[in-house]
Amino acid sequence: MQTKKANKLTVSELFGKLLSQQIFIPIAALLLLAIFNLIADPSFYKITYGINSAGAPVLSGYLMTILDYGSELAILAVGMTLVTAASGGQDISVGATIAIAGSVILRVLCGTNSRPDTLQAPIIVAFLVACVVAMIFGAFNGVLVAYFKIQPMVATLILFTAGRSIAAWINNNELPIISDPVFSYFGGFIPGIPIPTPFFIAAAVVAVAALALKFTNLGLYTQAVGINESSSRLNGLNPAFIKFLSFVILGLCVAVAALIKVSRLSSINYSVIAKDIEMDAILAVALGGNALSGGKFNLTASIMGAYVIQFLTTTLYKFNVQSDALPAYKAVVVIFLVVISSSVVRDYLRNIGSKISKKGVA
């Protein structure tokens, strides 16, 4: 809505232009947090180099924690962004589906014994099985949303309710433990590499996503369906299928995140694993400046958003905020974001801006 006539950019226009750059929001938030930490306690950025018990070199420090835990969120953010863009809603069952996929991985690895000395199946097989299962559950959500036209949040409520129960069922409510150290590499460190593995996994997922966006029309189709379903249909797309597909892709992301999650513990706790992660994933998408009502998306911004959230979480931890109290602070951030990005407020600000600039001219 900028007027081209004005030679000088008014403050409001400059502000608007900056705001219109989607990636601006997560970057600004990141900078804000970074500067805050720098002032509050520069030791936040300290990275120490050490040797862990397995004799492998590791880097540790707050930044590593962010890299480590932000990665699983980034993986989910990829899928969640697509679902949000295509369906204009969010999947609240990802935490529960992670429990299911994680449970499947352990089940395949452990076989009938919950404490096997050796793995009963190669890790890759377990992972692939988990992928298939997670995608089936994603498909279930997808069918409800795309073909039964149930609002995404409510459709996914079903798995949200049942997911952790199903996960417990899969392992007969036992808590299997994998003793093979190789399994713990995915959520920890690969010997010899001092950077947490989840970061590499996230990088791989992002790379795959980037390739998919480059070599297929996934991005274009998803955005088109999200922006204007009717027009997409008239141009030969099948909007229902695109929505369905986005949920299946999210299922795949969930399986990858589940691998990291169970690998961290070499075990699983059905009621706690990936708890509330769906909220963080949605927040990552929102923080990335993507409209939660669907349409245009920016994957990079979402991934940035994921790391920003982890940055925020870690910062809060550092200042001894209890983990249970974190949501209160996050809520404030969410409200701030949605209020800023709500059309009513933006129109209001724009009006004020134009009034000020009018006065300036007069």
């Binding site: 609002q151 309710t161 129960s165 909220m279 249970d324 409200i335 949605v338 209020v339 009513v344």
Partner: protein, 336 residues
Amino acid sequence: MQKKRKTLTDANLLLTITIVVFFLMYIGAILFQGKGFLKPQTFFNILNANAALLILSCGMSVVMITGGIDISVGGVTALVSMCCAVYLDYHNGNVLGAVAIALAIGLAFGIVQGFLVAYLDIQPFIVSLAGMFFARGMTTIVNTNPFNVANEEFVALKNVRIIIPGMGSLNKLGKYVNAYVEIGVIIAILVVIILFCVLKWTRLGRFFYAVGGNSQSALMLGINVKRTKFLSHLLCSLLAGIGGFVYFMHVGSGAASHAMGAEMNAIASSIIGGTMLTGGVGNIIGTFFGVLSLSTIQNIVSSAGLDQAWWTGITIAAMLCLFLVIQSVVMARKKK
């Protein structure tokens, strides 16, 4: 179409399904699980344990009828419990003060969330998601550790039992025990009745339906849509405050983990009770039976001695799925 035909409307159809399912389930439980379910107290225990859920579900139904959703009610319940507990035990408060706190918390959430949803036009899910985050986080900030309230006045109130005359059963020793309900149940029933009347016989109640049915039409019919939306959220949060206090009276403790997932149970109850997610259709009586169905399932699962706790989650989800699909099919039929 021109004929004057008494057809079962969609709303009534959904309600009927719910009621039938509930009775079938209860009769099935009596047949297969015997003596426990025959005793009236089993039924009243379901009420006692779910009075708070009933109140929350009523509020949820109102919001859903108006076309919104509020997932902060569980968090508000926990916050109310914790604040009241801290007030009673650490600040030597009295029960009246605690009630005031509960109402104030509900009101505050209602005003903020209602304003954001109705006047700033932000999606209700996101607003109430933040509300849930905030309430849960605040609960921990108020007090981290769970504790039982020892305040005598409160404990006395908590233990008040209202005897249901003419109902009772013999216990194991052969002694006749009267059936009873807790105060919370009375409050819940009152809420159900009042809300039923509000929805049926007041202007505001019908506005809820109109706005949920088609907010654009409602606007054209001369209804203040924004105010109606605002009031629906306000009412829901206020009921969450009341529900929170009832919950608190039932458990008698404050804990951050209280009412975990209550919002989802409330939504599920409303859906099972025939409230349409798309808004405009719903009935408090249905919600009442929705809550009963949901809690009866839980009771059956635990009474059956099924040692896996996850059975509850799976059965509830299956039921939810079934009802959602029924709704979707009803909607599809309507469009044709």
